[in-house]
């Protein structure tokens, strides 16, 4: 279980997150929705260790994460698919995947994990020798997810998965991620601008606004709530007409 408790995060002197708390249980798909600049990606970067917290704590199965360097957090079983994919364009697809298995236990079983990832995304196998920079956007997203899975994480963090992808591809990714979640009991924490998509995938959701958590609940309830409909889905409130 990942527990984030009352954290404050700053960019330099600028505070980006205020007193944010949330929990992600084992095997859950949890999403964080909010508009542009609300602090969604900031929270992702904070969990993965790229940003440091000034107050509160982050804790995974009672191990403090917030003082660990980024690669040690990966060792604790938390792997992130970064926003904009950030694959290594001058390295081959296979090498990119190998990089995902950099931590020690994952490196030993990487051939096995690789086979599983090729089953999820067969196209990566066909393109294994190709430079990753030559892949299409969708293939690069597959590679980014594959690379994150190579470390055999307990928790997968996905930052803006749908960005720049066709609706058809987005559907495909949803199916794959729900599949892994069900089959391998992989916990998924999803940050998404596409609120409808995120809430239809997730079990539970949190709403963030201006760096503060302003709402939470079952994904289905949130999807039906009037505030969410009005603020993020572009629907008028039904009772006000």
């Amino acid at each position: 279980m990942l527990e984030i408790s009352h954290i404050d995060v700053y960019y330099g002197d600028l505070q980006a997150l205020w007193d944010v708390s949330l929990t992600i249980g084992d095997g859950e798909i949890v999403t964080l929705v909010g508009s542009n600049g609300a602090g969604k990606s900031t929270l992702m970067k904070t969990i993965s260790g790229l940003l440091k917290i000034r107050a509160g704590y982050i804790d995974c199965d009672s191990i403090r994460l917030d003082r660990l360097p980024v690669h040690r957090i990966v060792e604790q079983g938390i792997s992130m698919v970064p926003e904009g994919r950030r694959i290594f364009p001058q390295m081959s697809v296979l090498e990119n995947l190998e990089m995902g298995a950099s931590i020690n236990p994952a490196r030993k079983v990487r051939q096995h994990t690789l086979k599983r990832i090729y089953e999820l995304f067969p196209i990566l196998k066909d393109r294994a020798k190709q430079l990753a920079g030559t892949l299409s956007g969708g293939e690069q997203q597959m590679l980014a997810i594959g690379r994150a899975l190579m470390s055999q994480p307990k928790i997968l963090l996905i930052d803006e998965m749908s960005l720049g992808l066709s609706p058809l591809l987005v559907q495909e990714f949803c199916r794959v991620i729900k599949g892994i979640n069900k089959l391998s009991k992989l916990t998924v924490f999803l940050v998404e601008q596409d609120v409808q998509l995120a809430l239809s995938m997730a079990h539970r959701g949190y709403v963030i606004e201006n760096g503060r958590i302003v709402g939470q609940g079952e994904a289905k309830e949130l999807l039906c709530s009037e505030e969410i409909k009005e603020a993020y889905l572009g629907m008028e409130k039904a009772d006000k007409t």
């Binding site: 360097p69 980024v70 792997s79 001058q90 990089m99 950099s102 994952a106």
Partner: protein, 292 residues
């Protein structure tokens, strides 16, 4: 005709050495975006270690290479820990280049003066039993030490290339070069990768020093002129293009050598700097860059 072949041979031998000098400098520049001005001093120190091991114990300079590499590797680690790693807090490449330039210039100042104090400013070279030996190649003469230097430069370049493409550590280096943030998110210990890269770069400077003291000569003041050569080589190869360092060195060596057929060899350094400027103006991504 013989003079032409002789010139080309000289160009190849010195060019391979230029490539070797560029390799270590280019590795740090490519991976960490640090300009290591102290690279020239490291070359000189490597040369002095070989010189003293030869003078005191009579160990052949080329056989002392592993020991020199070992010592220089640790000097590289110390350089990283004390001087370079504090600069990692600057996230942008331009800032790292500025700061590292200043700081390592200071290191160079210290090292060069320490070397002068320890071993005086005399020019030294190693003279072994085979130093004067030459072969006849199509009527031109090729020195044995020069040939060994050439072989060593090629071996080091190939070994580095294999390290970067075939080993897990090498792939970590390339991943950290491309996107250090994404590398750490993949579980790569970027700091450790930087540390060891620095050690390897310093070890390669040491090898270059051994070749220089065996084929040519060294003095404490020569570090900066070798550094200048390294800079020209990495500009020719294109920044971060480790695979092209040796070809770039060979091209530079050949141009310099061939120029002596037409003008005085006193102009060799200006010629390499003119090439440096021309390449920066017309092929800023290096001679081997495609497009742009």
């Amino acid at each position: 005709m013989n003079a032409v072949i002789q010139t080309i041979l000289i160009g190849i031998v010195i060019g391979a050495l230029y490539g070797l000098v560029g390799l270590g400098f280019g590795l740090i520049m490519g991976v960490m975006k640090f300009v290591n001005i102290a690279h020239g001093s490291f070359i000189i120190i490597g040369g002095y270690i070989a010189y003293w091991v030869f003078t005191l114990w009579g160990v052949d300079p080329f056989l002392s290479i592993p020991a020199v590499m070992f010592v220089m590797f640790f000097m590289g680690l110390i350089l990283y820990r004390l001087v370079l790693s504090p600069l990692l807090k600057y996230p942008r490449a331009e800032m790292r280049i500025d700061k590292s330039l200043l700081v390592t210039f200071g290191v160079t100042w210290i090292l060069d003066n320490v070397v002068t104090m320890l071993w005086t400013s005399d020019t030294r070279s190693i003279v072994t039993a085979y130093t004067g030996t030459t072969f006849n190649v199509f009527g031109a003469r090729l020195g044995l030490t020069g040939l060994i230097g050439l072989v060593i430069a090629v071996l080091v370049a190939v070994a580095l290339q294999l390290l970067l493409t075939r080993t897990y550590f090498g792939k970590h280096v390339r991943a950290a070069t491309e996107d250090s943030g994404a590398a750490s998110l993949s579980g790569v210990n970027v700091q450790r990768t930087y540390l060891i890269s620095c050690g390897i770069a310093a070890a390669m400077a040491g090898v270059a020093g051994v070749v220089i003291v065996s084929c040519y000569s060294i003095a404490p003041s020569m570090g900066l002129s070798w550094l200048l050569t390294a800079m020209v080589v990495i500009v020719l190869a294109g920044e971060g293009n480790i695979a092209y360092m040796l070809p770039a060195g060979l091209i530079l060596g050949l141009i310099q050598a061939i120029s002596t057929l037409f003008i005085s060899c006193a102009y060799q350094q200006p010629i390499s700097l003119i090439i440096f400027i021309l390449v920066l103006m017309f092929k800023p991504n290096g001679l081997f860059a495609r497009g742009r």
